[in-house]
Subunit: 327 residues, 4 copies
């Protein structure tokens, strides 16, 4: 864990860098890192007294390690990152890195509201072993986050990040869709390798693939509900909350898409839509964690103000899995 | 054209029917009519003084007749139906029926705000030769249009319609997404054969296909922007404004999807997204009509309050076609 | 009632007028008509078989005539105008005119989707006795209804209308807020006298009053929920659904505001908010009509697809009145 | 400034408290603290290298101290609190406390995403001299923030806060309107004294005043644009970004409202709407800070990703002040 002195020194250096002109990042030779594949965005387990339970985290990772995932997203929206301190965010990534085999990619969420804090967190994430940084759009002032502001923000972060950057657009949480023209501009940055798009607008996903086709830029679907459709229009993988509980099935859907077995893919995709909606939009992280408990993982409680599901909600959640033959 | 006396008699009969209990429609034996395929939603040509130009309408149809469309949608949103009188709506359908070969399906938009008016218009559309009625959700009181209200509305219409009914959900115009549970309930009606879904949410489209899989219910994508993705999740065709100008290409995309040539389909789909957005969401019917002028059809003016494009808009519109190699 | 021949002749004349340049309307000398005061937007009573019940309409008007209203709005959103035929719309206005004393203003809703139809309906409304036309924004293509389109639309209507025009912005139904800059431009037209604003944004209402202060332009609040606040920022009256059931109280609130008794006004306003929300946003016209039945008027059924309230809804509606001491 | 050891000890104690049952807060006897009046939400000045400029902060406070404000809001949305570290947030409040006369209330924004972090920050804010804590709704998971979750969150915070709590609803930033029923429930808590409501819906403000009338609960308008209207329906003051530049005028508007001079109040309110919108919704904090530079305060740059205004925007901003006679 980083002590306050290290932080302070990191900050001093970064302030200088942030004041200089853009363009310090020297690279661009050769292809960008390949991030294609399926990633579960891991949840952060908490004890009954709301402390991070690192033991349970490792147990979950151990179980998830049996599936052919490309890697893991840590501190995505499902990781309750806004509820963690900076130290906890880094410690969770540290532990995941230790628990993962070296060939699994670790994508660490490092987005903060300010550009400076995002740079600091990104650098720190690299130091504790993240392979790439997944950077959510700043959102509190989303009314001012036009293309120019976002291009400036991500360019600074990518300039100063020691690891590749993945853009992250999740309008359901942020109220903000990273504009396509900003994505296209940013795709030309040598240290920006792709985007996780959770908006579910497949026309937009196709357009991004099309307009970045000369940039070695990779698109990940942000949810299992539109995974097949995203593959069909050129996405190369997905970050899927559902993969925390139906890991085999999501990987199977990937395989069917990649091998062109579209009919079987369609049938499987159909059976995943309701369970996926249940653990995302419909019941959120409390729904995902409850389902993890059912499937042999540790879900456990969320930090407040997120609440446990009511008995009625739990029943509806279960029905979304049983009616599709998963429970 | 229907005279006022005929209308009056039609109305009297329908009032009686509307007051009786639901269920008069006797059918259900055998499969529903097959509506799979591509349909251009034809525009309504106007003269310089804003009269319907039936001659230009026929010329357009003659040119469009060279493509392997399944049929034509008349009086969809692109037909400016809210700007036409009831007589004009029927006369347009009459003329299209006369101009079309018998094997082309004619889907006529017959939605009105009230259930009663919708029934009347649907019956009249059948009388003038429509093969099926495409019924948009009522929208002025969309705050009250919950599932119960919409199920009641469509059931009444389907009960009394002499021709099959296609549901039509177009939230960009109506502010209302026909709820999935209402669609599932309505799919069981013997006289409701499918839905045109213009919302572009492919997760929703997949779910509708999945939950109506035992009902012989058909889903048409409402726009060319997500046509490939819709096929991938089980749609059987599309109603595509873009087919009014790039008819061959939209039919080609259909063929590539149906024959499993997904890579070529993806490349073609990509090049259609910007042109499609340009003639729909971005520049609306004025954009579509302007483009028709470029492609050898008669576009002409819209009725007020729709305005012509400015020179700047026209240039942006053109760029969306030239940058994708279509002009 | 207008026969088809009259309509046809009206249309011919108007087509010519619409093709000519703007500016035919000759007036502008002297002050615009004073529309200040309270108006109930009357409902349209229907029989059990959904015919317009003109007798009940007259009975309601007779009872409402005992309150010091400035006049009545006929064919506003609460009048279910989208469910009426053109003939019914005119006949309702005809009957209201006959039932009203000459000193009560009759504001008739004459908005249609097309400019041409709106002009025709406005002219006809004048012919059957409307004192002013209240013209709702066209809405089906609201994505294209920018300021330029709306200014053109309303200018044409005002140019050709024999009676003064009141703008009508009701975003809850239309998805469209008439932009302030368009309102300011239109306020300069000699035949446009004011706006009914139902959006409830009192900052906007204040700004409209401020920016039209040199134009003799009058603002009416579109709902009783923000009537006091609207008076406080310069509105001169209100069109209030609630006045159909609590007519004395709404007129009392007007009087308290006009005489500067703000403390009593505030207390009364407070007790009207929940009942007002109940008969508008919360339960819509079915809620308003049910309440009319309780208060000694004829409410009766709505036309489909509007549905009656459930027993639970009815109870909640009643509670909003009883808990504020009105039932 | 709090060192890490103090933080750690604070946290330990709070964890225990958070695990216990609700209800530790012992008070309720006597009236709640009076928060009526006008508050500028102070901006956080930054140097050219984006460090907090405490000297400029004090200079601004010194100048603002000449107006009859009730107090100051520190770390509201205009304070760029999401861009500050915890240490900076506390240090800013510390400095403001030192700079303020004892009779000026200091309302400190202490909202964080998690309940635990919010409690910790609230306690710390009390320790550095805040008179009350203004707690914004958590927002990243706004889809899950129903009344139950928010009631639980605020109850925990109020139970454990040594200083009174003011609720803070600002949907433009958070995508979330604190539901009226939650406000009513929370108004009964002895340590919750009021709400700052920035939504601008005066019907809602009136309803909150009405339904909490027996609770000694105070409502502050969150913007100068609807200040007069808010007073008219029962608010007792306002937190107004505009007061950072037009402090005398906002206080004058308060005085006119409190003394019942509604006509003059209306005229003044009218002239404040455009300037207010300019420094809030239209141009945000960059607009507010630019205006502060014009009016003799130190505005200076924002932290990234907020950007400076373009020359065009600056001109439009200036026009909103000059056209109303303020520049």
């Amino acid at each position: 864990m980083l002590g306050p002195r290290v932080w302070s020194s990191v900050r001093q250096g970064l302030r200088r860098a942030l004041s200089s002109t853009v363009g310090g990042w020297a690279s661009g030779e050769g292809r960008k890192v390949d991030i294609s594949g399926i990633y579960p965005p891991v949840t952060t387990p908490f004890t009954a007294t709301a402390e991070v339970d690192y033991g349970k985290l490792e147990e979950n990772l151990h179980k998830l390690g049996t599936f052919p995932f490309r890697g893991f997203v840590v501190q995505g929206s499902n990781g309750e990152f806004p509820f963690l301190t900076s130290s906890e965010r880094l410690e969770v990534v540290t532990r995941v890195r230790q628990a993962l085999p070296r060939d699994k990619l670790l994508l660490a969420g490092s987005g903060c509201e300010s550009t400076q804090a995002t740079v600091e967190m990104t650098v720190s994430m690299a130091q504790v072993g993240a392979d790439a940084a997944m950077v959510v759009t700043p959102c509190y002032y989303h009314g001012r986050m036009n293309s120019a502001a976002l291009i400036h923000h991500y360019t600074k972060v990518a300039d100063l990040s020691p690891i590749p950057v993945v853009l992250y657009s999740v309008p359901a949480n942020t109220g903000l869709d990273l504009p396509v023209d900003a994505v296209v501009t940013l795709s030309q940055h040598p240290n920006i390798v792709g985007i996780k798009d959770s908006g579910g607008d497949v026309t937009r996903i196709g357009l991004i693939v099309h307009k970045t086709r000369r940039q070695d830029f990779q698109v990940l679907a942000g949810s299992a509900g539109f995974l097949l459709a995203s593959y069909a229009v050129g996405a190369v993988g997905g970050v899927c909350a559902l993969a925390n509980v139906l890991g085999a099935q999501v990987c199977q859907l990937e395989r069917l898409c990649l091998t062109g077995q579209w009919e079987d893919a369609q049938k499987l995709q159909h059976r995943l839509i309701e369970p996926n909606t249940a653990v995302t939009r419909r019941f959120g992280i409390p729904g995902l964690k409850k389902t993890m408990d059912w499937f042999g993982y540790y879900g456990g409680p969320c930090r407040a103000p997120l609440r446990e599901l009511s008995a009625d909600q739990e029943e509806a959640l279960r029905l979304d899995f049983t009616s599709n033959g998963w429970l």
